[in-house]
Amino acid sequence: VTPAIALPSVCLVFAEEDSEEARRVSTFLTTHGVSISQQPAEVMQTARLLVLLSPHAMKSELFWRSLADWKERQVVPMVVCLMPKAELYRDPPADWRHETWVWLKVNVAVELSAETDRYVTLLRALDPQDPKQWWWNAGDAVELGLAVDVLGVGIPRPATLRKASSPTGEPYPFALDESLLSACGVASDRLTPDDTSGRDAPYLALCEILLQLRRKPNGEPYKLPWFILIYRAWLSFAAQLPGFAYSEQDVIQAERELRQALFALGVGTDASEVPAFLEAFANLPWTASPSTLAAVDERTIAFMVLVHHLTQAALARTQRMRLRHPSCPCFVSYARPDEGFARELVANLEAKGADVWWDLNSITLGTPLGGSLRSAVGDARFLLLVATPAADKSPYVRLEVETAIRQGLRVVPISLDGQVPAGLQSLLDSAPDTIEPIISAIDSERASAPTSVLARLERSPSEQLRWLQSQAPYQYLRKQLAQARASLA
């Protein structure tokens, strides 16, 4: 595939029942120049120990004894799951195998899929931290003639690299800090304009400075959109304050600037959507009427918090978000045979901005399932139950539903055939107060099911307000702005 490729030798450990799979893995690796050894005694120096972990292997004493032997050899193990990765943690060994299990689980797990490229995934995963993996995926490296060592053993890795890749703690790229609150001050000054320079003159002057910063390499690209957004949002909430004056031209200009600022921050909007949203936002059940500076400040800061949340979500998804309040977080409970439907549902919900937790996007190696599950269910407000006969038979689905009911989550059953299997139904009947009406996802209604689900997840106006006020930056920014106002007064 690539020139001058250097390949490591690999050892393989597997249960007898998985010998057919092991043979296929061996054949694939051998044809790619990887030499395979199966006995510890054969290995003088090796970098990789491929461990094929399956339900059979988990139960095989011979398999674990063999692993314990390898462990003494100081090899680096790499777990290859022949079952869904999430199931690794459902029943971890607790006896004498535990120590070996701990040794195994701190290393990379590859879940072999049923796709045709499954072994290519395995080859790539032999060194997942190698940046050339990215080149490989993009297909650029071969064209450039620069990828010479896909498996990363030919070129020594600098010792400092691991440290360098850890997070620095610097906010990127949306630094929502108190300096942006100056936009509120500039906006409120507009209520008592200096007639010699015009109402928006100070604002425009600051925009020009921020534009220069945005244009500079390593400048502050997001300060300008934030400044514009805060200034215009503040004024839109200040319509009832004395001294407020917006001409028709100002209204058009404000809408254009708001849309552009939101766009630059990762929030896409349609024409006229922003004024309507701000009006609805101003009509949330606030305690104070919008006739004081403090009340306008409060609304502006809450709006900043909302946009900040949306920009973070846009960055995480590398997709623009719609201007809308985030829905309640939910947890998806499904049986493995229904994974296709669950995948489709989650993709649809996430595309509409829902905050969905499910095992395939959340469980990482080294995190015990129990802990992950408890944490996820604890954070969620809803449990979406894909209620099928397979789910009825799954003890894990049952565990998830029981945990959800115990923790007071609302349970939304989603049925693929119009009914809930008897076992699950009796479980749901045990807590009728927490069960939402069933959503039907039979063939003719499958396309509309995500919309129905999303409608259940949406917050009421008072819940939206409570959520905004509970976000960490909200109190901090309010306090900072109040202090700034007091010092100016």
């Binding site: 690539t2 020139p3 001058a4 250097a6 190698d130 940046p131 050339k132 080149w135 450039l144 003639g145 620069l146 990828a147 010479v148 060592d149 990363g152 030919g154 070129i155 890795r157 600098p158 400092t160 690299l161 360098a164 620095t168 610097e170 990127y172 790229p173 534009l211 945005r214 244009r215 500079k216 390499p217 390593n218 690209p221 300008l224 959109p225 514009i228 552009q260 600022a261 766009f263 630059a264 990762g266 896409g268 846009a314 960055l315 590398t318 997709q319 623009r320």
Partner: protein, 168 residues
């Protein structure tokens, strides 16, 4: 590349323009390894880019097309509807290629102070959210350096590299 920028309504923060990336790399190859684009597609892309650049700046003798394109991309940041990362990706592609050729002993500028090339790479990385020291950056780039000049890389670097075989 000279059309009015199309609004990217989907991806965010965006800015990864594959045509710009190809141009950045090919210009680096021409300027620092002394190779002209050999592929038909590459030739078309580079020629079209240079033609369009000349058309956008009539009456100016373009001595440094990379600098001019970089300036254009910085100017595009005036609009909030353009991704500010377009400039960062362009610079990263160009200067990383230059660094790799220098470290491979394939560059015509191998004796130039390395910080000349490291500074724009680190700046582009910083804008993309990655902070690295000069040493870390160089160590990472070195991992891409071919261990030896191979038949494949000889084909890519179609003229005789200045230090062919020096790394073997």
């Amino acid at each position: 590349m000279n059309e009015t920028p199309k609004l990217d309504n989907v991806s965010f923060p965006g800015g990864y323009d594959i045509t710009d990336i190809i141009v950045a790399v090919k210009l680096a190859e021409m300027l620092y390894a002394g190779n002209m684009p050999t592929g038909e597609v590459e030739q078309v892309i580079v020629q079209r880019f240079l033609g369009e650049l000349t058309a956008r700046h009539p009456g100016i003798a373009i001595s440094d097309p990379v600098q001019l394109r970089a300036q254009e991309l910085l100017d595009e940041r005036r609009s909030l509807l353009n991704s500010h990362l377009k400039f960062s990706w362009f610079c990263l592609a160009h200067w990383v290629y230059v660094l790799v050729t220098v470290r491979s002993s394939l560059s015509l500028s191998e004796h130039v102070d390395l910080s000349t090339f490291l500074t724009p790479v680190r700046g582009a990385l910083l804008e993309l959210g990655v902070r690295v020291s000069e040493e870390e950056c160089l160590a990472e780039v070195d991992r891409f350096v071919p261990a030896a000049v191979t038949p494949r890389s000889s084909l890519v670097f179609s003229t005789t590299p200045p230090c062919a075989g020096a790394k073997s």
